[in-house]
C-alpha cells in the first residue's frame, strides 16, 4: 500500500466519521458512571468478572462498557499509600449498538473521545470500551505478566495437561519464601549452585611439594649488603691429605663344609686331620685361665720378729693397804 492509498483511506474514514456524527439518530451518549462521593473512603473496585467466551458467542453483543471509577485521592491517613496523580478527566465513549456491524472495519475499532473539562465537573471517569473481536480483548485473554493466574481449564483433560505444563515451568524461589506464602514445592537445585567437586589430588600434591628453588628472588636480593673482607689473623686450614684409608680386608672364609653324615663320628673330612693342639699349660696356669678375672699378686711385707710394742705402767699399789692401816694412820693425826 502506498502512502497515497493510506492517505486516501484515512480521508475516506474521516468522511464517514463526519457523516455518522452528523446523523441525529446515531448520537452516542456518553456512559457516565458517577463515582462515589468524594467523602467516601478510597475503594479499589475490581472490574466485575466478565465471561469473555459468552461475549464472543453473543454476536453482535451489546457494548458493555467497563468503567473503572477512580475517586479523587483523599488525604492519606496514618501513612497510607501515596496518592496517585490525578489524571485529566476523560471519558471513553462506546459506540452505540445501533451501528451496523458491516460498517465496522479494522480502522475504526475504537474511538476515544476526550470530554472537555467543563463537561465533566463532578467526576473523573475512565471508560474503556471493548468489543468482540477486538485485539485488545484478545490480549486480555492472555495472563498478565505480573499474574500467575491462568485460564480456567474447560475440561479435565485440559486441566491435567496444563498441570503438567505448570510443573515444568514452575520456578522455585531461591530464597526462603515468607511463611504466608504457604507450602512450597521442592524443586531441583538452582543452576547457580554446583555439586561439590572431587578434589584434584594431583594439584594438591603439587601444592604440597616445595617449589623448585631457583635462587633468591629479586625482592630478597634487594637489600643485599656486601660484607667486608675479614681483618683478623688469617687462619689456614691444614689441608694435608689424610692418610689413605686402609684397604678393606678381604672377608674371611666363614663357610666351612660340615662333616658329612656318612662319615663315622670323630673323623675329619679335611686332609691331614685336625691341627695339632698346643701344649697344655701347667696346672696353675690352667687354674688362672679358668677363673675369669685374674687376681693381682700382692707383695707381702717382710715378716718382723716378736717385739714388745706397748708398755703398760701400772699405778701405785694402794689397794693393798688394809682398812685397818688406813684407820690407824688417821687415828695418829
Amino acid at each position: 500500500m502506498t502512502p497515497r492509498d493510506t492517505i486516501a483511506r484515512l480521508e475516506t474514514l474521516l468522511e464517514r466519521v463526519r457523516r455518522n456524527a452528523a446523523s441525529p439518530g446515531r448520537a452516542v451518549a456518553p456512559v457516565v458512571v458517577a463515582a462515589s462521593t468524594a467523602a467516601a473512603a478510597p475503594v479499589f473496585q475490581a472490574p466485575p468478572p466478565v465471561d469473555r467466551r459468552a461475549a464472543v458467542e453473543e454476536a453482535p453483543p451489546t457494548p458493555r462498557p467497563v468503567v473503572e471509577a477512580q475517586a479523587p485521592a483523599p488525604a492519606p491517613e496514618f501513612g497510607g499509600p501515596p496518592a496517585w496523580p490525578q489524571e485529566s478527566s476523560s471519558a471513553v465513549q462506546a459506540r452505540p449498538s445501533s451501528l451496523p456491524p458491516e460498517e465496522l472495519s479494522d480502522d475504526d475499532l475504537l474511538e476515544v473521545t476526550t470530554i472537555p473539562p467543563e463537561a465533566q465537573e463532578t467526576t473523573d471517569v475512565d471508560v474503556e470500551i471493548s468489543m468482540p473481536g477486538d485485539p485488545i480483548d484478545a490480549e486480555r485473554d492472555e495472563p498478565p505478566a505480573s499474574s500467575s493466574r491462568t485460564k480456567v481449564a474447560e475440561s479435565l483433560d485440559e486441566a491435567l495437561a496444563s498441570a503438567v505444563e505448570m510443573d515444568g515451568e514452575r520456578e522455585v524461589p531461591v530464597k526462603t519464601p515468607p511463611p504466608e506464602s504457604g507450602p512450597q514445592a521442592a524443586g531441583p537445585p538452582p543452576q547457580g549452585l554446583e555439586a561439590p567437586r572431587v578434589p584434584d589430588v594431583d594439584a594438591l600434591e603439587a601444592d604440597l611439594l616445595p617449589p623448585i628453588s631457583m635462587g633468591p628472588t629479586a625482592e630478597q636480593l634487594g637489600e643485599t649488603i656486601e660484607l667486608e673482607a675479614p681483618r683478623g689473623p688469617s687462619l689456614e686450614i691444614d689441608v694435608t691429605p689424610a692418610s689413605p684409608p686402609e684397604p678393606e680386608r678381604p672377608p674371611e672364609e666363614l663357610e666351612v663344609a660340615l662333616p658329612r653324615a656318612q662319615m663315622p663320628s670323630g673323623t675329619y673330612d679335611l686332609p691331614g686331620g685336625p691341627a695339632p693342639s698346643p701344649p697344655a699349660p701347667p696346672v696353675e696356669e690352667r687354674r688362672m685361665e679358668s677363673s675369669a678375672p685374674p687376681e693381682p699378686r700382692p707383695t707381702a711385707r717382710p715378716e718382723l720378729g716378736a717385739a714388745e710394742i706397748a708398755r703398760v705402767v701400772l699405778g701405785r699399789q694402794t689397794q693393798n693397804a688394809s682398812f685397818l692401816d688406813v684407820l690407824d694412820r688417821s687415828l695418829t693425826l
Binding site: 689397794q319 693397804a321 688394809s322 688406813v326 688417821s330 687415828l331 693425826l333
Partner: protein, 185 residues
C-alpha cells in the same frame, strides 16, 4: 682367801602373818617414818643420842665382822659397812682419804642434817665393834645431800671441833691435820 661380796639376798624378812620385820634373822626391826625418828632424836639429850647411835653401829659392825677379817681392804669395808647402813635406810656410805686423814661420806640420808650426829655414832660404833678401835667421828662438812665425817682419835676430834667452832673451814682443818694438804683417795 678373798673377801666375800656383800650379799643382801633375803636380808630383810617381812612376816605378814605375825606382823614383824627381821633383818638377816636377827632381832626384830621396826619400820618407822624418818621424820618421826628425826623428831625423836632431836628431843633426846646428847648422851641418849650417842648411845642410840652406838647401838646401831655396833650391830652393823658385828655383822660386818662376821664376813670380814682384820686385814680387809678399804673397799671391802666400804662395801660391807655401806651395805649394812643401806639396809637400815640411813644413806650411802663412802670413804675419802685426805692425806693421812680418813673421811667417811654419807649421801642421801633421810634424816638430813638432824641425823648427821646419829650417822657419826653409827660409824664409830661399827669401827669399835669390827676393828676394836676407839675413834672420834665428827661432822666435818655438810651440804644439801652429803655429809663428811672425819675419823680421827678422840683427842684430835675435840680439837677439830674447836677449830670448826672458831670458824675454821673444813678444808683448812684438813690442811692443818695433813700439813701441806690433803691427799684424796
Amino acid at each position: 682367801m678373798g673377801t666375800p661380796r656383800f650379799d643382801p639376798t633375803h636380808s630383810l624378812e617381812f612376816n605378814l602373818d605375825r606382823g614383824t620385820v627381821k633383818l638377816s634373822g636377827s632381832l626384830e626391826r621396826i619400820v618407822l617414818p624418818a621424820d618421826a625418828l628425826s623428831a625423836l632424836i632431836r628431843g633426846a639429850d646428847a648422851e641418849t643420842r650417842r648411845d642410840f647411835a652406838h647401838r646401831l653401829g655396833t650391830e652393823a659392825g658385828r655383822r660386818m665382822a662376821e664376813r670380814l677379817d682384820s686385814g680387809a681392804s678399804l673397799e671391802a669395808v666400804v662395801e660391807h659397812l655401806g651395805g649394812e647402813i643401806a639396809l637400815m635406810g640411813l644413806g650411802s656410805l663412802a670413804f675419802e682419804r685426805w692425806g693421812g686423814a680418813l673421811v667417811a661420806t654419807v649421801q642421801a640420808s633421810p634424816l638430813r642434817a638432824e641425823g648427821d650426829e646419829l650417822l657419826a655414832g653409827v660409824v664409830a660404833g661399827a669401827l669399835q665393834r669390827a676393828f676394836g678401835r676407839s675413834a672420834g667421828v665428827l661432822v666435818l662438812q655438810r651440804d644439801d645431800s652429803l655429809v663428811r665425817l672425819l675419823i680421827v682419835n678422840p683427842t684430835t676430834a675435840e680439837r677439830v671441833r674447836g677449830w670448826l667452832g672458831s670458824g675454821v673451814a673444813w678444808s683448812d682443818v684438813i690442811a692443818r691435820l695433813n700439813g701441806p694438804g690433803p691427799v684424796q683417795s
